[in-house]
């Protein structure tokens, strides 16, 4: 959809120019215009969702739909879970409760709230969006939506935060086109008419040129179903972030329990996590040593600063994809908040 020639009004208003000045100076006017023509669906308004919402609204997309069927939980914890939901909103739908503050972040963006379940949305619901971002969703749901959307050239993003850990995945389609700004090569032109010593007028060293590039992505299903039994895969394990396997464990927990690890049931959940870890690593035919017991203490609840980091990276990836500018991270980003490590790696068919 975004690869089509811009159909919107080419003129950028004074208000937009003033407000977006500092980012137009970074990514250019064309990128800002493409953002301004993009509609995004954001599923899940937990801690991570709120960060992504903030980042996309501030960036100046055309529209952002907040989709979440959950209610704001009546616990002190919940009020501090994210910053878009007022403290008085207990019992309300999370998307609707976030709407007002989200809209106030930038009145120039059309923000909508939808309290339906993602699962209940018909396929063509997704067609109105240029990008879809899924947080807090089960593995099966993510796989299904990813399949559905990427077939229709809709950019797909997934992300979650579990305590100190977080990840982002993206599928920008088999042929994602973008531009990259490179410095212009200044060729010295020798002109004998100017005399042997005279130099040509200097070209501004800051001049750059836009180079067109393409990147190819696989589906989430392919990314999660990498075969580790081959010799080549086993050899590559040493350089593989263990976060990938941690993700499998946490997604399985979510599928089995219908929720994420809960601080209130720390003891049972920790035990279950260790069990799932054993099962998952065995099923993937990799060593049980890859994930030590440590992780179980640190993957409870959405940590605000971790949401900020993952939400920042994820938000920027959405901006890059919509504006078709700069190389996308391909195809996972993993963040370990205890080590301060943030890695980008590709998982999927070679």
């Amino acid at each position: 959809m975004i690869d089509m020639i811009e159909k919107e009004d080419p003129v950028i208003s004074e208000e937009e120019a003033a407000q977006y000045d500092r980012q137009i100076r970074l990514w250019g006017l064309d990128a800002q215009k493409r953002l301004r023509g993009s509609r995004v669906l954001l599923v899940g308004l937990g801690g991570l969702g709120a960060e992504v919402a903030k980042n996309l609204i501030l960036a100046g997309v055309k529209g952002l739909t907040l989709l979440d069927h959950e209610q704001v939980h009546a616990s002190e914890e919940s009020c501090r879970a994210q910053f878009l939901v007022p403290v008085t909103a207990r019992g309300q739908n999370r998307a609707r409760a976030s709407l007002e503050r989200a809209q106030n972040l930038n009145p120039m963006v059309e923000v909508h709230a939808d309290s339906d379940r993602v699962e209940d949305k018909p396929d063509d619901f997704f067609l109105q969006f240029d990008a879809v971002c899924l947080t807090g969703c089960s593995r099966d749901l993510m796989v299904r939506v990813d399949q559905l959307c990427s077939q229709r050239n809709i950019k797909v993003f997934c992300g979650d935060v579990y305590g100190y850990y977080g990840y982002m995945f993206c599928n920008l389609g088999q042929e994602h086109n973008y531009v990259e700004e490179k410095p212009k090569l200044v060729k010295p032109t020798g002109n004998s008419n100017d005399g042997p010593e005279a130099k040509k007028a200097k070209v501004d060293p800051n001049e750059t040129t836009m180079v067109k590039k393409t990147s190819s992505f696989c589906t989430l299903k392919e990314a999660l179903e990498v075969d580790w039994t081959s010799e080549k895969a086993k050899a590559g394990l040493k350089r593989t972030p263990v976060d990938y396997f941690l993700l499998h464990v946490l997604l399985k927990f979510r599928t089995d329990k219908g929720r994420d690890p809960d601080p209130q049931s720390f003891a049972e959940d920790s035990q279950l996590l260790r069990q799932i870890r054993d099962d998952v690593l065995e099923a993937l035919a990799v060593s049980g040593d890859l994930l030590s017991d440590d992780f179980t203490s640190y993957c409870f609840s959405e940590m605000s600063p971790v949401c900020a980091v993952v939400g920042g990276v994820l938000g920027q990836e959405v901006v890059k994809a919509l504006s078709q500018r700069d190389p996308p991270h391909r195809n996972f980003f993993f963040f370990d908040g205890r080590k301060g490590n943030g890695v980008v790696d590709f998982f999927g068919p070679k």
Binding site: Q23, A59, V87, P241, F266, F300
Partner: protein, 609 residues
Amino acid sequence: MVQLVGSLRKELADSLSTCKVLVVGAGGIGCELLKNLVLTGFKNIEVIDLDTIDVSNLNRQFLFQKKHVGKSKAQVAKESALQFCPTANITAYHDSIMNPDYNVEFFRKFVLVMNALDNRAARNHVNRMCLAADIPLIESGTAGYLGQVTVIKKGMTECYECQPKPTQKTFPGCTIRNTPSEPIHCIVWAKYLFNQLFGEEDADQEVSPDTADPEAAWKPEETAARATASEKDGDIKRVSTKDWARSTGYDPVKLFNKLFKDDIMYLLTMDKLWKKRKAPTPLDWHQLENSACPQEDSPVSGLKDQQVLGVWGHCQLFQQSVETLSSQLQEKGEGAELVWDKDDPPAMDFVTAASNLRMHIFSMNMKSRFDVKSMAGNIIPAIATTNAVIAGLIVLEGLKILSGELESCRTIFLNKCPNLRKKLLVPCILDPPSANCYVCTSKPEVTVKLNVHKTMVLSLQDRILKERFGMVAPDVQIEDGKGTILISSEEGETEANNSKFLSDFGIRNGSRLQVDDFLQDYTLLVNVLHTEELERDVEFEVVGEAPDKAPPPQTNQEEVNSITNGNKDSAQPSTSSKGQLQFLNKGKFVSHHSSSSSDLKQQLEHGIN
């Protein structure tokens, strides 16, 4: 049994709710940081910022809305943060952290200080205050897509000033006045011109051709002769630029012809300059007027400011802005001065026009107002996501500190693209304090090379002690056996000394000065090395460091560090533009990353005064 409150161990969660932390700055990083602190469970937060909200902040400083423009950042940030956690205890100060009210005792109230600043002077100051109070400091910075976070703990890590940081890039006077070769030279010239015509006249901001340019002399003896001649004549003008302009009634055409025709023709007589360079071509107002094409109404598909005007367009812009500025000046009355501000349209128009006319004269491609504003105003592009990531990392480091896990603290760099080891976020071990640091060692000492006969006491105070060595209120005593007081931080006490030269006080080669800043609890011993041979335009040199002008070649990771620590040397609010200088930080960690260097290069080269 491990007990969790949310993601955190109970002991940690409990300490968060009782401890007090200080956030210095409520802008891009500050807003994100405040949000993270509150949501993580910090209950007692003090935040300070001297600035007010501007519309260009709204793309990232999300605690502010359009209706808040003009209000105090610290105050509005506090109010917005309270919205999502009414039980938090937040104190806001609309003030400068360099105000002596915020003394060591003030800093000691906190278990942790977090900087969210955009200028080096304030960072130096907070660094010293935290060393004095022995409080851990988390330092950070962002620029565009890049960012970094680090932890400073007295005795354990490097302090902020352990590594010499290349100071802002300055250009030699003759490049600005005689032989500009890049747009930035023309822009600096245009800003000098603004001050000469409408603002505070500064002897270091000459715009007229420099007859004493060493490059202009065919024989070395000539340079000396020219220099003497120009000192007598006052650089080919006998009256100040402002007085001359006033005498013409600020006639734009007369100004134009002097600056862009007569002065250029004078430069052409200095023929040696043009032997290996393309010579400038003087402009003639009336010629341009007559040959100007009628304005074509091309569809504006971009920002108006991004259009590049033609020569005649710039002539007209020059005329309009001169007329507006001169009448503004007149309105203000006798002895009035205007201060250049990138957000003041006629001031910005003037610099756009004057710099472009000069670029054209020197065969450079002209630039749009948008681009000139970036360079003239030292604008560092900024987005919400980079600040969000950095602020998240700050809190994570803070939690390590509060858990007593200082050894696990790191410097973390945020790159634009993953490096060869696939890392987008690169944590690095913290370095121990530098043995040569002139701030955090037990008896800091430096050697300064200067000319004792030509350096005034005021220069020592302002340029060397305050600007270069980051002091706020220095007291200087000469170690001459008599303890002669050279400078007192008490107002008025040593004012009479200001215009005297150091040699007048018996200061000579080998003299030692004891400098104290009582607010910063900092004593520096300055060894004086007298010299008569300093480079042109250089007033002093700190011995043992690379010269100011050419930062040594850096690796990619060091380039990343270079621009992420704010674009200003002075602590003026963004809403004023005095003393806007590029701040560069040369980091030590070396790693490879494959990001495109053009963005970095652009960012590095912006922000030059």
